[in-house]
């Protein structure tokens, strides 16, 4: 019990001074402000705002930003979160939904930051989670990264964004295109200009998109070079068992688009083999009926980069596994060493080169050190996290890359029960492993001729080899 108390105290302290004071104005007020009918109504039925407050917390447990959409909730509510975090040991295991006496905390973990939202009443948890991720995506989109430093550097924009994204706790404008019309993303030039002229980043155009029925597209887009590029990216998720047979494999694909077209282009994208796409989720711009009837993606695209569709090629189809792994990892009984031998080779790679190969292994805790020789690439072993990373590079069939050597174990400790599984990353350019092919892209509604391009990449997704 006393542990908890002292922990809370330490949190208070750390938030007290190291909390960078961004919001002292906010947080100082927060304690005293809970009054008026608003505070009373907190308990009443039907008075929940979907998202009441948001706290951003970094890895060391500092609350470095808070935002309230209604009355202010004290920072101390986060203590419950810290408690859960303590209990979970690993950041990955902090439960996303935590119940506290008066509030519910729904959090996400993104890029070493916790986004903790405070909820007062029943709400679909996914609604909040999805929204928080949308917030993180927006930060990423605006600042290039979603890190504590980036958020602190752009705190004004962050507040403006949060203000626009949520009204009274209910999502208002979450489309990146609309937001960018309302609030300009920062550039070095603009920040210089702003500091001289004293103007703000608030956009000087009216967000017409918000009013239209195509909210994802800005009006009056103009480009000198009109381009439309599509990246078909497929990831193979697989579990390969000890003997090399496939336990589970499926293909997860996405089509990411980069559209820089003037005016209001109406595009339709058709495939040679649309039947392959088993389960598809769409960007709102896609006309569902066209897809249902003709299997053609017809849409007025948002401006810039966006994810057009993501799809799954059903596990019923046979999935080609482009690599194989030969492995022999053994730990000797009653001895402080073991052997490690892994070789990677190409298999069913459709004649393409496999590049960017990396092997990551979480070694058992008793492993002290590893003494290995790669025939190709380089390896690192982190004795603290026990993670072995072997950066292989390209696989040439003539000379298969291998990594061999000795493993030093903690003496006296029992030998590990299980061999570690290997996580493999690779990339194959110019190939969609499912065989999906774009047939053609047509544009209507505009007169110019755009540059069009389609790129295919296959990658390893969650590709795991059990040993």
């Amino acid at each position: 019990m006393s542990e908890v108390v002292s922990f809370k105290l330490s949190v208070r302290q750390s938030t007290g001074h190291s909390n960078c004071g961004v919001l002292t104005a906010f947080s100082a007020a927060s304690a005293s402000v809970r009054r008026g009918p608003g505070a009373e109504s907190l308990t009443g039925p039907g008075l929940g705002k979907m998202i009441h407050s948001l706290f951003l917390i970094n890895c060391s447990g500092d609350i470095f930003l808070e935002k309230h959409w209604k009355s202010v909730v004290s920072q101390s509510v986060c203590d419950y979160f810290f408690e859960a975090q303590e209990k979970a040991a690993d950041v990955e295991n902090v439960p996303p939904v935590i119940s506290t006496p008066h509030h519910y905390l729904i959090s996400i973990y993104r890029d070493k930051l916790f986004f903790v939202s405070v909820i007062q009443t029943e709400v679909p948890p996914l609604f909040v989670i999805e929204f928080l991720h949308r917030v993180a995506d927006t930060f990423q989109d605006y600042f290039g990264e979603c890190s504590e430093a980036a958020i602190k550097d752009n705190v004004v924009i962050v507040y403006e964004l949060l203000e626009e994204m949520l009204d009274n706790g209910f999502p208002l404008a979450t489309e990146s295109n609309i937001l960018k019309e309302l609030i300009k993303p920062p550039t070095i030039l603009r920040s210089v200009v702003n500091s001289i002229t004293g103007s703000s980043n608030v956009g000087d155009t009216l967000p017409t998109g918000q009013l239209s029925n195509i909210p994802w597209r800005r009006a009056g887009v103009k480009y000198t070079n009109n381009e439309a590029y599509f990246d078909v990216v497929e990831e193979i998720d697989a579990i390969i068992d000890k003997s090399g047979s496939t336990v589970f494999a499926e293909i997860q694909g996405v089509i990411d688009a980069c559209i820089k077209l003037s005016g209001m282009p109406d595009l339709s994208l058709s495939f040679m083999n649309p039947r392959l796409l088993d389960d598809v989720s769409f960007h709102p711009c896609i006309r569902f009926k066209r897809w249902e009837s003709e299997r053609v993606l017809s849409f007025i695209p948002p401006d810039g980069n966006f994810r057009l569709i993501s799809y799954r090629v059903s596990s019923q189809n046979l999935v080609a596994i482009p690599v194989y792994v030969k492995h022999s990892i053994s730990f000797k009984e009653n001895s402080s060493c073991g052997r490690f031998d892994v070789t990677i080779g190409p298999k069913q790679n459709m004649g393409k080169t496999i590049e960017g190969v990396t092997v990551t292994v979480h070694m058992p805790k008793v492993v002290l050190n590893m003494n290995l020789t790669p025939t190709q690439g380089s390896y690192t072993f982190d004795p603290v996290t026990k993670v072995l990373t072997w950066d292989v590079g390209k696989i040439t069939p003539q000379k298969l890359p291998s990594l061999k050597g000795l493993v030093n174990l903690q003496s006296g400790a029992p030998k590990p029960e299980e061999n570690p599984s290997l996580n493999i990353q690779f990339k194959i350019q110019q190939l969609a492993i499912s065989g999906l092919k774009v047939n053609r892209l047509d544009m209507y509604g505009e007169k110019y001729k755009p540059f069009k391009g389609v790129k295919y990449v296959t990658k390893a997704g969650k590709f795991q080899v059990r040993t």
């Binding site: 996914l126 103007s199 000087d204 029992p414």
Partner: protein, 1066 residues
């Protein structure tokens, strides 16, 4: 604090912002009282200049900047209003002015801020502002009004009744922008007023796909609750039919579905079906919350056989980030307990990866356990073997529990599992062993008879195992089975007596238990040992152990003080104990609505609304009917009808101007004759401001027999009325009477009429909205319509100019849409009207220089083409500018894009010098602005020429009433709507100028408009006959909103682009 230069919203910074904002507003409205601050701010100096400048662009820039500044002030105000109420009050008047701003964005954000100021004094002002905004022309402002409702309600719950009125009004809104927000407000303020939803139910279902994603989630959750109160359970179906059903639901063959359904006693309410059908596409949403919302809707309200389609989408979400996975897996866990079959095909998707976080791993394990059955258990057990060895020991332990559960659930594998678990007892990891012991203990308890060997094996483990729980479990097991292992048990007790003092409390208690049990069964060998242990326990540090010792001693050791109980000691200690039930922690979670916070927490969260059980008998479904009649009435060109019949005056007066055309002839006459019901109707029509004429019917329609009766009366009434109208209707066009008859006949269906078929249909069936029904009804109507028109032949004089089309000129897909809407059994009639005359524009086809003296011009006469009804007629004027005859002018080598067709003119034998001839041809442009290229040839030469049609010429004007227009427009929202705001000087906009400008560009028909500031134009595309609806709405100040609704979005946007400059020209 000081180290941070980016401190935001500090007092000082905020203060400046306030000044800026006040200045800005005062610049807009010079009468403002806050202009004092302006002088010293240089920045605003140029703002003023800009505003005063003559250039539109400069003015525009200035306006935009003001919007920017204002927003900052707003942020500040909202944050600090509660603390500095007086200061905040100063700003109120500014907002009130801003609420009247011509710019809808400013109106909206002013409302947003005003409603966010949490100062109780301004509640009345807020109320007023909300009421006004709810009637705003801009849907964006109305959306904000819906948001403001919630804010005001939380500030002052007293306002509830008034707010409900506003909600009721906004629920009727047809804009997709508003729908989500108003349902949110509904859920906040009055979730129990389900009656408000009835009339909007179908509309919400139909709008759902186009609503923004966050709104979708809210609406779907609300409609789930709604469905559970209004429809009967679809779950009574025979299981045997499941597969059969599934196959035909998946196919889109609605017809078949319908016939099949009839065979069964249960028929799903068509509205119920509508909801299920309209939410299905949303399973493909990119938003996990939407997918989950649809999934729970299917789970809770669809027939069990159809819920299967959600599994695929839910499995897809598992690729998402860990938080989404967590929630989705929880929900799948709950579902998989009840309906294993749903997720069985996806078994492998729940296989665990070593990189998954532990909470995800355990959830997946949970699901795998739920899915385990005789067929897949061997595969699963093999998979579990991998997990048991996992480095994540917590997970390994969970796996062992899982194996235990599989062993109990599937009797075939109990022995296998048990021996597997026994093998694990020699595992090196203690946690694994301990967990195995615990699980084995539970398993053995269920079938203790034949497992003496295992118990012996476990007894040996006591030497090596140290985990207290496991030791305690072994001791308990030996104690329970002490009669089966008579030799070992006393020996174990001996060993334990030796180590008693060093054991964990948990183990000590079990040693005491073991001692007691042995004392009772085998006192000869163990009496002394037990007494020794009891003595040790007497002086133990832990009071629990001391208490237990005392208790046991009194109970088992007979002495004079011991009561009657000791006789029963054996029965007490060695009673048959029920085997523990190993079941999923998700077992009973499904009493919470899936996808909710309460479900995730497995506890009722504040504000959780219970999902009610299906009603035994469905509440009267006709309450939703309103809209059928409602919309059907909208389709009558009532603008004329209104003027015809003086009895209708009562109704038209109670309506708002723009909706005046609502009043239809039948309701009017009905009110005149049925005096008994008049009062009631009058009342309700007064409080419902929009759609008023149709409302009364819904309200009085609670009893279907009343409705029947009334319908019958109305029916006879209509006919009588038809006669009475004879003289007045002279100018009425044929379509008018047509549709009004169609109108009445749709109501007639249920009543006794000459149509025997419709007679046989029950009242409830007339409400069926499945497509088959729809089609049939349509046929009925058509038949009725012809009948009626035969009867009423004298009613109208066919007017020659408008060409009534034999079939409704709706594109097939539009018809499909209409059917999807299911709102009514009639559709509006679109007829091509005569084009408004505009000076013909001629375009050069061939210049005389390049044509060697032959000049050609083309123009679009805007007449229906005589060569084919999909063609645009083109007039070509040929001039001979040479001094010789040009012979044999003809067309060759048409290079037309695919699908385009062209009807050429007959070759011209000769054209005299200075002569000119005009010929006409027809080109089917396939509704695109693609160029038609061909060669214009003379006897000697060939010239390549092109005709590219302006988009406005691809249209034919359509005559329709304002009501029809609105109705059609309502169906062409979402992707089908494009709009733009145009800025121009207001003095340039007398109606005639606008009319002229639009018609010049597009060959459209003018729709009579009830409002001076809104101009509507209707046309259809020549090729496909898709409607093209153009609305020009003049706003206060110098803006106009241009909206185009059409299914042909491409042409729509091109037309918008062409109209924009024309309308914004000064």
């Amino acid at each position: 604090m000081s180290s941070n230069s980016f401190a935001y919203n500090e007092q000082s910074g905020g203060g400046e912002a306030t000044e800026l904002g006040q200045e800005a507003t005062s610049t807009i409205s010079p009468s403002g009282a806050f202009g004092l601050f302006s002088s010293d701010l240089k920045k605003n100096e140029d703002l003023k200049q800009m505003l005063e400048s003559n250039k539109d662009s400069a003015k525009l820039d200035a306006m935009k900047r003001i919007v920017g500044i204002k927003k900052l002030v707003y942020v500040y105000l909202v944050r600090y209003a509660e603390e500095q109420q007086d200061l905040a009050l100063l700003s109120i008047s500014t907002f009130q002015r801003a609420l009247k701003d011509p710019n809808q964005l400013i109106r909206a954000s002013a409302l947003r801020v005003l409603s966010s100021i949490r100062v109780p004094i301004i509640v009345p002002i807020m109320m007023l502002a909300i009421k006004e905004a709810a009637a705003d022309l801009s849907p964006y402002v109305r959306k904000n009004a819906a948001h403001a409702i919630q804010k005001l309600y939380s500030l002052d719950p007293e306002q509830k009744e008034m707010l409900i009125e506003v909600i009721e009004k906004l629920l009727k809104d047809k804009s997709i922008l508003v729908a989500g927000s108003v349902v949110m407000a509904f859920e906040e303020v009055c979730p129990d007023r389900i009656d408000l939803i009835h009339k909007n139910y179908r509309k919400l279902c139909n709008l759902l796909v186009d609503v923004e994603e966050w709104g979708q989630v809210v609406i779907i959750h609300m409609l789930t609750r709604y469905a559970r109160t209004q429809f009967v359970s679809p779950w009574r179906e025979d299981d045997g039919l499941e597969d059969n059903e599934k196959s035909f639901y998946d196919s889109d063959d609605e017809q078949k579905e319908k016939t099949d359904k009839r065979k069964k006693p249960y028929t799903m309410d068509p509205d119920h079906r509508l909801l299920i059908r309209n939410t299905k596409p949303l399973l493909q949403s990119r938003n996990a919350a939407v997918v989950m919302a649809v999934a729970q809707l299917y789970w809770h309200i669809s027939p069990k056989s159809e819920a299967g389609i959600i599994s695929k989408s839910l499995v897809r979400l598992l690729r998402s980030n860990r938080e989404v996975q967590y929630i989705v897996l929880q929900n799948i866990a709950t579902m998989s307990i009840q309906r294993k079959g749903m997720f069985e095909p996806y078994l492998k998707s729940f296989y665990v990866r070593s990189t998954d976080p532990t909470m995800i791993k355990t959830l997946k394990l949970e699901i795998l356990t739920n899915l385990a059955n005789e067929a897949n258990i061997s595969t699963l057990l093999r998979e579990f073997q991998t997990y048991v060895k996992s480095q994540d020991k917590q997970f390994a332990a969970a796996t062992i529990q899982t194996i235990g559960r599989c062993a109990t659930n599937i009797s075939e594998v109990t022995d296998t599992c048990l021996s597997g678990l026994v093998c694990l007892l020699s595992n090196r990891d203690e946690i694994v062993v301990a967990e195995s012991v615990v699980v084995i203990k539970k398993l053995l308890q269920m079938q203790p008879a034949q497992h003496g060997e295992i118990i012996k094996h476990m007894a040996k483990l006591l030497d090596s195992i140290t985990v207290p729980v496991a030791r305690a479990s072994i001791l308990w097991l030996i104690g329970e089975n002490c009669e089966r292992v008579p030799k070992i048990a006393p020996d174990v007790l001996r060993k334990m007596a030796k180590s008693f003092t060093s054991e964990d409390d948990l183990v000590k208690l079990q040693i005491l238990n073991l001692g007691a049990k042995l004392y009772l069964t085998n006192s000869k060998q163990t009496k002394l040992l037990t007494q020794y242990i009891l003595n040790l326990g007497k002086y133990d540090q832990n009071y629990d152990i001391r208490d237990r010792t005392r208790f046991i001693r009194q109970l088992i050791v007979p002495n004079e003080k011991s009561g009657a109980l000791s006789k029963y000691a054996k029965k007490i200690f060695l009673a048959q104990k029920p085997a523990p039930l190993l079941e999923s922690p998700f077992k009973d979670r499904d009493h919470f609505q899936l996808g909710t916070l309460s479900h995730t927490l497995n506890a009722k969260a504040a504000g959780y609304l219970e999902l009610s059980n299906w009603p035994e008998v469905a509440p009267d479904p006709s309450v939703r009917n309103v809209e059928v009649i409602d919309l059907a009435k909208e389709w009558t060109p009532a603008g004329k009808a209104k003027n015809e019949n003086p009895t209708k005056k009562f109704y038209s007066e109670s309506e708002e101007e723009e909706d005046s055309s609502d009043s239809s002839s039948d309701s009017g006459s009905e009110s005149g004759s049925e005096s008994g019901e008049e009062d009631e109707e009058g009342d309700s029509s007064e409080d419902s401001s929009e759609d008023s004429s149709s409302e009364p019917e819904s309200e009085s329609g609670h009893q279907s027999d009343t409705e029947n009766r009334r319908a019958a009366k109305r029916n006879s009434k209509t006919k009588g009325k038809g006669d009475s109208k004879d003289g007045k209707k002279e100018n009425e066009k044929s379509k008018t009477s047509d549709s009004s008859n169609a109108e009445s006949s749709s109501v007639e269906e249920s009543s006794s009429d000459s149509e025997s078929e419709s007679e046989s249909e029950s009242e409830s069936e007339s409400r069926k909205v499945t497509k088959e029904k729809e089609k049939k009804a349509k046929q009925d109507r058509n038949r009725l319509a012809t009948d009626a028109s035969l009867l009423d032949l004298d009613d109208f004089n066919p007017v020659s100019t408008p060409v009534a089309l034999p079939t409704p000129a709706l594109s097939p897909s539009l018809i499909a849409d209409l059917e999807g809407l299911n709102l009514s059994t009639s559709s509006s009639v679109i007829s091509v009207s005569t084009p408004v005359f505009v000076p013909m524009k001629t375009h050069v086809l061939l210049h005389r220089m390049s044509g060697k003296g032959l000049a050609a011009h083309y123009s679009f006469p805007r007449q229906p083409c005589i060569f084919g009804d999909k063609m645009v007629s083109v007039q070509i004027t040929l001039n001979n500018t040479t001094d010789k005859k040009i012979e044999n002018i003809h067309i060759r080598e048409k290079k037309l894009p695919i699908g385009m067709q062209m009807h050429v003119f007959n070759p011209i034998e000769s054209l005299e010098p200075e002569g000119s001839i005009t010929v006409s041809m027809g080109i089917d442009f396939c509704d695109s602005t693609q160029t038609a290229s061909f060669q214009l040839c003379t006897k000697d030469d060939c010239f390549s020429v092109n005709i590219q049609p302006p988009v406005g010429e691809l249209l034919l004007p359509v005559a329709m009433s304002e009501k029809d227009f609105k109705k059609e427009q309502g169906m062409l929202t979402g992707m089908n709507e494009t709009s733009a705001t145009i800025i121009t000087a207001p003095q340039n906009f007398p109606p005639s100028v606008i009319l002229q400008k639009v018609i010049n560009v597009a060959n459209a028909g003018v729709v009579p408009s009830g409002q001076d500031n809104i101009h509507r134009f209707a046309a259809k595309t020549v090729h496909s006959g898709s409607l093209m609806l153009v609305t020009v709405e003049l706003k206060e100040g110098s803006t106009a909103q241009l909206i185009i609704n059409t299914e042909k979005t491409v042409i729509g946007s091109v037309l918008l682009r062409e109209l924009k400059p024309v309308l914004s020209q000064g």
